[in-house]
Amino acid sequence: MGSNMALSLKELASLLSVLSEDATQTQSFEQIATSFHHYFQKQDHFKEAGQYDLHWAIPAITPAEKYFLSQLISSPTKEMFKKTPTQIIQMDVGNMQNFDVSGLMLALTERHSEMPAMSKFEQFGKPGQINPDVQRHCMEELFTNNKPPVENCMRPEFIRLAPPLHIAEDELCWLNPTDVEYNIGWDTTMCVSSSVGTEVRRLMAKAFKGPLNPQQSQQLLAELEKDPKLVYHIGLTPTKLPDVVENNPIVAIEVLLKLMQSNQITEYFSVLVNMEMSLHSMEVVNRLTTAVELPSEFIHLYISNCITTCETIKDRYMQNRLVRLVCVFLQSLIRNKIIDVKDIFIEVQAFCIEFSRIREAAGLFRLLKSLDSEDPKAVAQAKAISKRTLDGPWITATFIDELFLPVSELLKSAFSEVSA
């Protein structure tokens, strides 16, 4: 039922006058209805209906009332409304035709079953009927006011326990004094640094922008050689490394070698690995690999970077050049045993096959094969597979490329055919 069932005092008075003892004694239902409509607008009907309902909810109703209500709800007849309520109450229902409320009950049950159990609870109150003054007072108390008691709903309620406060062993903030005094610092390098540093810095700033002449780079390298810590003063941040590599690879190599002890060296490496592939960057990496031991994952990353660059470049002429470069670079790495062939075998092999039209790639492939056959296990494996696949149709190089472990024998024949 609606929450706005509360009636104003005036409305209640009107309703009570319509339903007063006197009126209900003498007037027929039709008359009552007329006066009811006189006082109340249509939108109020539900409100009133609510109050009507309450009349029969409690106390128990007589059979006569029951009959009346069932008639009222199911099929109201005109004659019925001509009677007064008193007449109806006094009516003898015993010989009335068998009235049946079970249908009504069924309908009600059906309606209830459509609702969740928790919302079936409706209000019930107990208005009385006799002493008009006390009665009116009573009704006023029950139906009017801000929160009329008639709206109170009675239903089984759960006891809902609130959770206990969270227990934390260490939650509060303990304050400890600081032990050290933190003060502004004095620049101790004031007026003590020599002019050498300035010259080196000037040369370095040039080296970022363009190639130095041999004399200049000679001077720069000599100064760096003299003072191993000078390298930290020349303004070479990892992000600026590619500029030096492109413009002055010789300087870049020397500087990187000086920085090997720095805890920032890996950042320089990762910049170097990820910079655009070029003759100069390759030269720097190649020189570095021969001078110091580089982390292998760094070299692998660089190789993959090179291969990807070769594969994606559009300019045919440039592509040929770069592929040749990469092949020579890889051969040098392999021959100097800087990388383990096994780690990159598949990737490099695929690369060779893709660019088999280039002589250096074929050379690299042969080198790979010769190294591969030294491994007895791989040879055995290769033979086993070749037996299986030899009878099959001719396999193109690109197809082999897709095979996970290409067949060395078959490949060789396919390869010679292509190069021929």
Binding site: Q135, P149, W174, I184, D187
Partner: protein, 706 residues
């Protein structure tokens, strides 16, 4: 840098002299020398920089605004961008970065400061070997300090290890620049220049890390060594107290803190505030919450006094300097005093303490203030939600209060035959709050937001399986295992995996409760279900989760499922702590030795305290569930059973259900009898005399089935 001219011998001499004066803290003469040097080399950024440093020190570290401006100018002259993403270009610029970091540190912009120092770190090695050890040391110490200030003890520890390995060991002072070495020898006040003098300082730092990581075993060793060497050092004493506090030796911690409040340190910290605060923490753990709140209040007062004092002297200094405030806000008080107020830390502690005093609203006010600063602390969000819950329902015994029981019968109207009794509207009424939940107020709607924040903050940490806990115990070297999770919880110490787990359980439990109160049954079910799936939850949490699921399921019209969760026989334990509370064996032993029974168990009492009452309550809920389904006989039976054990006075809900069942089943006389027995004030005597005589000596506190 853009030095344009060669440095002359005279300039060199002046520079050395200036540095000597600076080291001896003779700032007036230092300034004079710098003025001379400025005339000669006014374009040299380093000279300008040192001039600014000298001026700043001469002002008693008070002209912070001027110094910041000068620093910015120097950076411009030297083409240095302190805020750029790129690192440092020249190791000679280190001091600029360092000074900027120092200012930010004192302004308590710790993360910004750390970002600057991180750029400096790659140059630490060249920095220390090019001779500027003093600066190198300062940078490293500041960085460790900042890691601790930002609650990253593992990083601080890593840096300390780095310092020990790479800086301390095998380092003999460099032979380079003998002139400077001589200069240092000439200044006896500068005793901290030697690397060897570092060790005690590093040891203190290490202890702070270990305390923050709660690696108590390693900490014990470190503390012991510290106490042997520098037992009079205030910070060592505080650390020792902190350690004892973490170990649960609260009496010892209190003894260490001593009775007499201390005064300020020269580092711009007020020891009195810290002392009171720490005493508050100790009393919290001693379960003396009102005393704890007293100490926190004292700490807050003291903090306010100090800040007020500082403000007054600031105003005087400004007037003295002819500065009338305006845009310059930092000048007028020493740099190291700028960030001295501990207001928000204290508010945080105070809020939690007040909550445990049962004062939900004042606690809420404190915590709302703290959460503006410490938004990433999931603890804090849960505590806020708990304040809201406590404001909504002060205690689980609320239902038994006289006032609640009296509301069962709202009153009576009329008289004689017209006399009507009005039943009350029920206990769990929807208290819809006004306003939007986004505006902080102690409402359940706001609690729901807080809890969602807490869950969100916890979501980054994966749930650990119960076997993982042993790996989180500290290893011998004081380092944490790789699985150890440290979740930020400022201003408290970061949380380790078991703490995160416990917190998650509590948040889920509270979430389920709040969702239920907001009629969000689906979410209530979800939260409770998630909670029940977690390993290692306390007895009380498991009990509550089943109870919440039961109610939510009944409300969702899945009554049969709901009844499954309301089986009283499943209730075996309602302890609020974990069954195998994984305390340090040593710690438990200590606790027993101190024989302080109130130290164990919950910080705040929770009802029901015993399994019998808990069973009775869930049995009552079972009765209610059956009543909803219309199984009135069962409901009556369970209700009668429950009323025997639930303890007096009975919760108001029981009277409602009893009357409901009697009325709906037409036992009018019985209902009248109950009303007469328990709500005599609304019933005229004559009506029920006969009912009473019909059942002489009826047990009034329990209702046996007829």
């Amino acid at each position: 840098m853009g030095e344009n001219a060669q440095v002359t011998e005279q300039q060199k001499e002046l520079a050395t002299l200036a540095m000597q004066e600076f080291d001896r803290k003779q700032f007036t003469s230092c300034c004079n020398i710098m003025n001379k040097l400025m005339v000669l080399r006014g374009n040299d950024p380093r000279v300008v920089h040192n001039k600014a440093v000298a001026d700043f020190c001469l002002s008693g570290s008070q002209s912070t605004d001027d110094f910041r401006q000068s620093l910015a100018n120097v950076c411009q002259m030297a083409h240095v961008n302190l805020d750029s993403g790129e690192g440092l270009e020249d190791v000679d610029h280190s001091v600029l970065f360092y000074n900027q970091a120092i200012i930010l540190y004192h302004l308590r912009q710790n993360r910004a400061s750390l970002a600057i120092l991180d750029k400096l770190f790659p140059f630490i090695d060249p920095l220390s070997s090019t001779g500027d050890e003093g600066l190198c040391k300062k940078v490293l110490l500041l960085q460790v300090e900042l890691y601790l200030c930002t609650y990253q003890p593992e990083k601080a520890m890593g840096l300390l290890t780095y310092i020990e390995k790479n800086v301390l060991n095998g380092r003999i002072t460099t032979e380079r620049e003998p002139g400077r070495e001589e200069g240092k020898e000439g200044s006896p006040s500068n005793t901290e220049s030697s690397w060897e003098n570092w060790r005690p300082m590093l040891s203190v730092f290490k202890t702070r890390c270990l305390v923050m990581m709660k690696s108590l075993k390693a900490c014990k060793r470190e503390i012991k060594a510290l106490m042997n060497v520098q037992s009079s050092n205030t910070s060592v004493v505080f650390l020792k107290a902190n350690f004892e506090y973490l170990r649960g030796n609260y009496r010892k911690a209190m003894k260490m803190l001593g009775s007499g409040p201390q005064m300020h340190t020269d580092k711009g910290e007020c020891l009195t505030v810290m002392h009171y605060n720490n005493m508050g923490c100790v009393h919290f753990h001693l379960r003396k919450h009102h005393l704890g709140a007293f100490y926190f209040r004292k700490a807050l007062q003291e903090n306010e006094n100090v800040v007020r004092e500082m403000r007054r002297s600031t105003d005087q200094n400004r007037q003295h300097a002819g500065d009338n405030g305006g845009s310059l806000t930092l000048s007028g008080r020493p740099l190291h005093c700028l960030g001295m107020s501990r207001h928000f830390e204290l508010m945080y502690n105070m809020g939690i303490e007040l909550l445990h005093c049962g004062k939900a609203m004042p606690a809420f006010e404190c915590l709302i203030e703290a959460v503006q600063i410490y938004q990433v602390n999931p603890h804090l969000w849960l505590r806020l939600a708990e304040c809201c819950i406590m404001a909504y329902r002060e205690n689980n015994d609320d239902d038994r209060k006289l006032q609640k029981r009296q509301e069962v019968i709202q009153g009576s109207v009329g008289s004689g035959v017209h006399r009507k009794l009005i039943m009350g509207p029920g206990v769990n009424q929807d208290k819809n709050s006004v306003g939007t939940p986004a505006i902080p107020a102690a409402t359940l709607e706001f609690a729901s937001l807080c809890l969602r924040n807490a869950l969100q903050l916890l979501s980054g940490v994966p749930e650990t399986s119960p076997t993982d806990t042993s790996q989180n115990e500290d290893k011998e070297d004081g380092k944490l295992g790789p699985e150890a999770v440290l979740l930020q919880a400022p201003p408290g110490n970061p949380m380790r995996a078991p703490e995160v787990h416990n917190l998650r359980c509590s948040v889920l439990c509270a979430s389920s409760y709040v969702a239920l109160c907001l009629n969000d049954y689906t979410m209530a079910l979800e939260y409770a279900g998630t909670l029940l799936k977690l390993p290692r939850i306390s007895g009380a949490q498991s009990y509550l989760a089943h109870m919440y699921m039961g109610e939510a399921l009944v409300s969702l019209d899945r009554i049969a499922d709901g009844i499954q969760h309301l089986n009283p026989d499943l209730v075996t334990d309602v302890a609020t702590t974990l069954p195998d509370n994984k305390l340090d064996p040593e710690k438990t032993e200590k606790l027993e030795k101190e024989s302080d029974p109130e130290i164990k168990g919950a910080f705040y009492p929770w009802c029901p305290r015993d399994v019998r009452t808990a069973k009775a309550i869930i049995q009552y809920n079972l009765a209610a569930a059956h009543a909803v389904r219309g199984e009135y006989d069962k409901a009556t039976n369970y209700l009668a059973e429950s009323s025997k054990f639930i303890g007096a006075p009975l919760p108001a809900q029981m009277y409602f259900l009893k009357l409901y069942l009697d009325l709906i089943e037409g036992r009018r006389k019985m209902a009248q009898f109950v009303i007469k027995e328990h709500f005599g004030h609304v019933t005229p005597n004559r009506i029920d005399m006969k009912v009473a005589s019909m059942k002489p000596g009826g047990n009034t506190s329990t209702w046996n089935t007829e």
